[in-house]
Amino acid sequence: MTETVRNDRSESPDTPPSPEELPPDMANPSAKPSISWQALFVGAMFAFMYLPIAVLAAYSFNESAYSANWEGFTLQWYERLLTDFRIFSALKNSLIVALTAVVVSAVLGTLMAVGLARYRFPGKKLYLGISYLPLIVPDIAIAVATLVFLAAVGFSLSLWTIVAAHIVFCLAYIAIVVSTRLADLDPNLEEAALDLGATPTQAFAQVLLPQLMPGIVSGCLLAFVLSMDDFLIASFTAGAGATTLPMEIFSRIRTGVKPDINALSAILIVVSGLLAFAAEYLRYRSETGNPK
């Protein structure tokens, strides 16, 4: 660009200003190395949210059995956990509940999301509202309602009643995540498959389902974490001996917080965090990046 041309166009609003016309602080962004108040605020917020967890994690390595003072680094609480039969039994129960609830909800939730997107029927809006209600209704209400209902119909409580109660909210979470993914897809995808000779079943299995998979998987991970984490609903609907991990932890801290519980909590936080991260990553990759 020659000097004359730039002078001619300097009035035009869509020509970017040349470097020497920029205000000094914009041209030199690194001139002032001070910390902005925004950064301080963000730091304070993170401290507020995660400092308790950091303290907990630190105490899980504390040699003192009575938590208050730091008496040196140890891994003994983690070792003790590994030999604790009751913890493992509770973990097994929790995994059974979470995996069963998630698998059942994944199938039902996907069918629900696809059905709601595809068909028009009277009362569809109402149905939509009711099916996502478990996300809004307080857990305690679901817990009490489920207990009262099961007692009313004379159904004996067991591990499977927890599974049933967990399906209620897992289903809603998975359906909502899959619905979001579905809304982003080209509405003609299934028709394109049909047009190319696929039967409706083939079109669903070979075209729609693979494209929904990132949504289904991230919904499942989310639901899994929520189910593993649930204490309230599980404690109301559990039968004798059906103790899940959060219930076991709660029963132990009534007699004071012991360092092995700190250790267990630290492990749970790390595992849930990893799962949540994996769910988000899958969703992110399916929305922006290239597959594989």
Binding site: N188, E191, A192, L194, D195, L196, P210, N290, P291
Partner: protein
Amino acid sequence: MLQAATHNSDLPTLDSDFDVELRKVFKVFNGETAVRGVEFNIRRGEFFSILGPSGCGKTTTLRLVAGFETPSAGEVLIRGKSMTHVPPHRRPANTVFQNYALFDHMTVWNNIAFGLRIKRLGRSEVQQRVDEVLQLVKMETFANRYPKQLSGGQRQRVALARALVNRPAVLLLDEPLGALDLKLRKQMQVELSNLHQNLGLTFVMVTHDQEEALSLSDRIAVMKDGKIEQVGTPNEIYERPRTPFVADFIGDTNLFEGHLESTDGSSLLVRTHSGLKIVVSRTPEWSDRTHQTIVSVRPEKIHLHCAPPETSHNTFEGRLKHAMYLGTHVHCVVELVSGEMLTVRQATHLETLPEDGSPLYLSWSPSDCIALAARST
């Protein structure tokens, strides 16, 4: 346009061998009628366009041919066989969707092979046919890319290849170039036209772009409010519109509302509401029962004069409101003494453009305008 017209004359004029036939087809959605008694026959190898404004039912009509919708009444035939109750996956028609609907989880190659694999063709045949169409759409080097890694024009080609590889009887195109920018659209128009000529396949295209329809099609069906207004070659549609809507929708035109004053064997005299008397040549379509009429004159058919011309018919006095120089022609807006605003397109051989506001005389030949029945409301 001229090319399209001559192209059309190569086709057999009366051929009973139709690829697509629609017989009095209706489609009602939740009490709203989207398609009302549409009828047309598409000849084998024809490039047929369905043109109309948005919401006129053109896409629904295409979906009725593809089988995504079943008609509420009427019949759809492909190659003489009734398709009315045949599901889309058993129809010999393939569709290029508006947003391409490519399968993002498959490579370009797998997208194209999808239809052949569903039909359980042998591996070597699939390979051969996919490679063939990849070459046809010039996408050989992109076989292993994913759709999200392609540009709009490239996705368009993949969508075309994915449909063509199945060797359908009819290729259906739903606004195929709608998502592309102007330059790419022009380029793809040429390629679509070449593809059609090389393959000799029947193309049915839905579009709202009249220029695209005129330049590509052998015949065009103009739709409005779920009904066919006119079916004809681009030349017929442009030069001899049957309804005021067609005259107005295709290209620019000047419309005069009026009534028939007198008629003789070869011409009609129309008096407009503002009092102008326009002489119009009688066309074979003219019905003497018509009284209320609309006269259409294309801007390029009107001649401008600085002094009163010697012709006796259709000469009117006016004033130039403004003129726009557009290189190949000048676009003028002229206000007649009777108050009408007319647009006039003049070739730029006019040595000197008259000043805005200067008096002018307009004239056109009776055979360069057309009288159409005003729709009784």
